[in-house]
Symmetry: C2
Subunit: 203 residues, 2 copies
């Protein structure tokens, strides 16, 4: 598996620390159907992964410094509650963000992947945000901001998909596969927010 | 305002029957920023609305008969709990679906629009699904299926945006504006599902 760095702090993909997802593989298969995710999309995601592999640092820098940093409402989630910078936290979560791009494109969507989606979901909520990094920051990322920012991610990733000389039609297909995967992941990330048992109120 | 039909059953946009949204206009403005929705996008949405205005019946037919009907998991929400067809319910909700395309493109995103987003949100949940039509169907649409199906809507709308001779670049911009609007609306639709006070468990 391609990695964004040799060691990625807090990246526990596939390890025993990651709990079993409450979502079943059957539910995942149904979600793939609802999202229109086909074998062709898997192939184009692999291609996207090859195109993006040496650009993940630049892409995440674009999202974090080029966009999020200038939206106070979003930037605060990488800062202390008082608004001070947390450079170490930001650096660590940026590296995980980079790896997430690779995982999106190159990992098989199997039980390990499903489990890690739930882990990512929890790390957005008050159940797990800040914990692995041991930082004091906002207690959670509101669900609505996660939903909203997917649109920005989808819009801004496209030019990076076009940097390796693929035809416009292939770029479109890589992009469509990317957008479907993100909506699929988003569906999984909404689960803890909508789980009455958790009783969160983090819209 | 352009309407999909002279009378649309259960379409209460702008009427006194629609309650005030619990989301504030300020939160809406913040969401627009998170989603990257700019003035340019408003302009391209208007253009999209002109392009789609005489195609809404065909588009909704594509989604309902061409896609949803063959995905049992989604098709069941327009049927009885036993799986029998409800043609009258389907026809009524299809017409509202058509009008929603026009509203997405042509309405100003003001207080009325915000209120109706909340109404749409509630009509997906057990709080309001089936009520206005007085039908016996599934009690709610799971949040994950709403999130997922947005990807299908976004993918399939694009060719319809290209039917009126606009340049590929303009079609791309109309499509980007559309995708941002849908993610914005989706963020609003997730609210009742994530509202601890409602205590829903409808992921």
């Amino acid at each position: 598996m391609k990695m964004a760095a040799e060691h990625i702090f807090g990246y526990t993909y596939g390890s025993a620390e990651v709990a079993m997802s409450p979502v079943s593989m059957r539910e995942l298969e149904e979600l793939k159907i609802s999202v229109g995710f086909r074998e062709e999309d898997e192939r184009y995601l692999r291609q996207a992964g090859e195109v993006l592999a040496d650009q993940t640092e630049q892409v995440v820098l674009h999202w974090r410094s080029g966009i999020i940093a200038s939206i106070p409402n979003l930037a605060r989630h990488s800062r202390t509650p008082e608004g001070e910078a947390l450079p170490d936290y930001l650096a660590k979560s940026n590296l995980r963000f980079q790896q997430w791009i690779l995982d999106t494109c190159l990992r098989p969507y199997d039980q390990d992947w499903l489990n890690y989606q739930q882990e990512i979901a929890l790390r957005h909520t008050s159940l797990k945000k800040n914990k692995i990094d041991g930082v004091r920051s906002t207690p959670y990322v509101p669900l609505r901001d996660i939903v909203a920012f997917i649109a920005v991610i989808n819009e801004t990733i496209k030019p990076y998909l076009a940097t390796k000389g693929h035809s416009p039609s292939d770029v479109d297909k890589m992009h469509q596969a990317w957008c479907k995967s993100l909506q699929l992941q988003l569906a999984l990330w909404t689960r803890p927010y909508a789980d009455a048992k958790q009783g969160l109120n983090e819209w």
